[in-house]
């Protein structure tokens, strides 16, 4: 027994959410062969099949690329500041991949520990995630190595699983149940969850590698290829480093949070010119270290969901999976090219 929504009914439901004034985001083919999560203006834009996963992640709907955090106005020698609030609008992310949804509970730790970042938490509270279980994977996928999988439920409010003629609907939270109430019918069939990629690496071993061989020449070898473009971090569901800058005129302006990336040299450069991570090899190591050592030690979870976007979007064929394989002592593996 399971709850089912017919394939043709789903676009109607998306249209209904839009009509209710909700902000709806989901995968959309923005040009041939290229799929991104975008804010949907109509249900026709939604694409649920024909690709492994979008090239970006859903983090931008809870942690935008660019966001005003405070406004300021000048008046003579005095300054007035004004608080900013994230938009108070309910949003639904439909067709999220499990490896994207799983990033949200991972990021919750960071944005709520000690100091709460309301820009993240208020968006997060207003967001309902409707995840679609994966039917296929590619060579870059390694979710199963992170204890996730094609039907992982972490971070999802609803999990949809493809069945002939529609989707099995598994409501996992009250928010999810509210969204699908009265929209499904009970049927006999249940979905078969396809196997995900085989388990390829044990990310826990990287901790020992970093402790024992922190200055391993492998990092320098990797860095020779790295362009330092930051595509890995920007398309990663869990990378969250940001910059804070002022943007304004002589009359006033905004203090904003912008996405930043640990692969850029300026990221850690001191005002004196001294740079603790002056070389690309140190920056490559830092990204891996942040994901598999710093974050687990701090929050008990790894900062990676095995989505493989780092490899898919890397212009020179690097990625977390191939790096983990190298640290595990196995031969270098070409990923996602």
């Amino acid at each position: 027994m399971s709850e089912l929504i017919a394939q043709e009914a789903l676009p109607g439901l998306v249209a209904k959410w839009l009509a209710q004034g909700k902000r709806v985001a989901g995968p959309s083919v923005v040009k041939p062969g290229y799929c991104l999560y975008v804010e949907l203006k109509s249900s026709a834009q939604l694409a649920l099949e024909g690709f492994i996963r979008p090239r970006n992640s859903i983090k931008e709907f809870v942690f935008p690329h660019h966001e005003a955090i405070c406004r300021y106005h000048f008046s003579g020698h005095t300054v007035e500041t004004e608080d900013c609030d994230p938009p108070q609008v309910d949003q639904v992310i439909v067709g999220a991949r499990p490896c994207d949804a799983a990033a949200l509970p991972i990021l919750d730790h960071l944005f709520t520990w000690d100091y709460e970042d309301k820009f993240y938490t208020e968006r997060r509270k207003a967001t309902t995630v409707v995840t679609l279980a994966c039917q296929a994977h590619d060579d870059a996928c390694f979710c199963t190595s992170l204890d996730l999988g094609p039907a992982a439920e972490q971070g999802s409010d609803v999990l949809l699983l493809a069945v002939p003629g529609g989707y099995e609907v598994r409501c996992l939270t009250d928010k999810g149940r509210a969204l699908f109430a009265g929209e499904t019918r009970t049927v006999e069939q249940t979905a078969v969850v396809p196997p995900g990629p085989p388990v390829m690496v044990a990310p826990g071993t990287i901790m020992a590698f970093l402790q024992a061989r922190y200055d391993d020449p492998m990092w320098a070898d990797l860095a020779l290829r790295c362009l330092g473009c930051g595509a890995c971090a920007y398309t990663c569901p869990t990378c969250h480093c940001f910059d804070i800058v002022d943007e304004g005129t002589a009359a006033g302006g905004c203090r904003v949070k912008n996405w930043d990336c640990c692969q850029f040299a300026m990221f850690t450069q001191h005002a004196s010119g001294h740079n603790p991570r002056s070389g690309q090899s140190q920056r490559q190591r830092q990204r891996i270290q942040h994901k598999f050592r710093i974050y687990p030690e701090k929050f008990g979870v790894m900062l990676c969901t095995g989505c493989g976007n780092c490899a898919r979007n890397c212009p020179v064929g690097l990625g977390v999976l191939s790096t983990l394989k190298e640290t595990a002592g196995s031969a270098p593996v070409e990923v996602g090219v």
């Binding site: 000048f74 970042d117 304004g248 006033g252 203090r255 930043d260 850690t268 004196s272 830092q286």
Partner: protein, 277 residues
């Protein structure tokens, strides 16, 4: 909900120019309630901002015993500090903080204190020196070794004179060879060499060493030869920060967030971390 990134507005009370490129600024909260309730511990830092230019991280260099205002000191080196340089009495700037851990002043009670600072590192030492002097009975001998490139690069030279007049305080000033003037009465030489010559006792002592990485690198072996254990030698890291509250991800040094777990570490603690600072 509280916006953790929104700075409080501060009125600039005084600006004092110490060197050709270093100024200190005295500020107070515009909001009287905040001014009344604000408390911090010496060694903590804040995010100071000039609206339109951005935020920078500085140590709060006044003593935590001083009420009604706080002070910070900066060198003119970038966009924010260029704007701060233009700031004068009566202007409004932003402040977030206090952030980070602090000097373990309670643990240091009953000990002799050795403060070693180079250049712009005087301000983060100054707050601890004043704190110790204001709680004089709790601390033993105090040695302050402060060096700068030239005589005109010394920060807070008048306060060095005030400290030198106190009981059980020894102040050693030095400038790099060539940085002296005909009137210079202090030492000439690099800090590690001056420390070697100074014959400071390491008995029952802790040291706070802050300065450029090259100064610290050559000062640590001298302290070790003197007999100080790495657990008794402290510093304050200066990793670049944006948020100051453990979110923005750039001050990581191995498994620690310098903004949250630091900036104050003993060298025994640092010996277990990668040299990402």
């Amino acid at each position: 909900m509280n916006n953790v990134y929104k700075p409080d507005l501060m009125e600039v009370l005084e600006v004092h120019q110490h060197t050709p490129d270093v100024k200190s600024v005295k500020i107070k909260f515009q909001d009287p309630a905040l001014a009344e309730s604000f408390a911090f511990r010496v060694g903590q830092f804040g995010m100071f901002s000039v609206f339109g230019a951005g935020e920078s991280t500085f140590n709060i260099c006044s003593s935590s015993n001083w009420k009604g205002f706080l002070e910070f000191c900066f060198r003119k080196t970038g966009k924010v500090t260029e704007s701060l340089w233009q700031t004068g009495e009566g202007d409004t700037i932003g402040f977030r903080g206090p952030y980070g851990n602090s000097y373990p002043m309670e643990e240091w009670e009953g000990k002799n204190l050795i403060f070693i600072g180079g250049g712009i590192a005087m301000p983060p030492i100054r707050c601890a020196v004043w704190y110790a002097l204001e709680n004089r009975a709790k601390y033993g001998n105090i040695t302050v070794l402060y060096g700068a490139r030239t005589v005109k690069d010394l920060v807070y030279p008048d306060e060095l004179d005030q400290w030198a007049e106190q009981e059980r305080v020894r102040v050693i000033r030095c400038v790099d060879p060539g940085g002296e003037t005909p009137e210079w009465k202090g030492e000439i030489g690099l800090i590690p060499h001056v420390l070697e010559r100074a014959e400071v006792s390491a008995e029952n002592s802790v040291a706070l060493v802050i300065g450029p990485p090259i100064m610290i690198k050559f000062t640590l072996p001298v302290l070790s030869t003197m007999g100080l254990a790495s657990a008794d030698v402290y510093t304050s890291l200066e990793n670049r920060m944006k948020c100051g509250i453990g979110k923005c991800g750039r001050c990581n040094c191995g498994p620690v967030y310098v903004c949250k777990d630091g900036p104050v570490f003993s060298f025994e603690q640092l010996s277990r971390l990668p040299v990402d600072y």
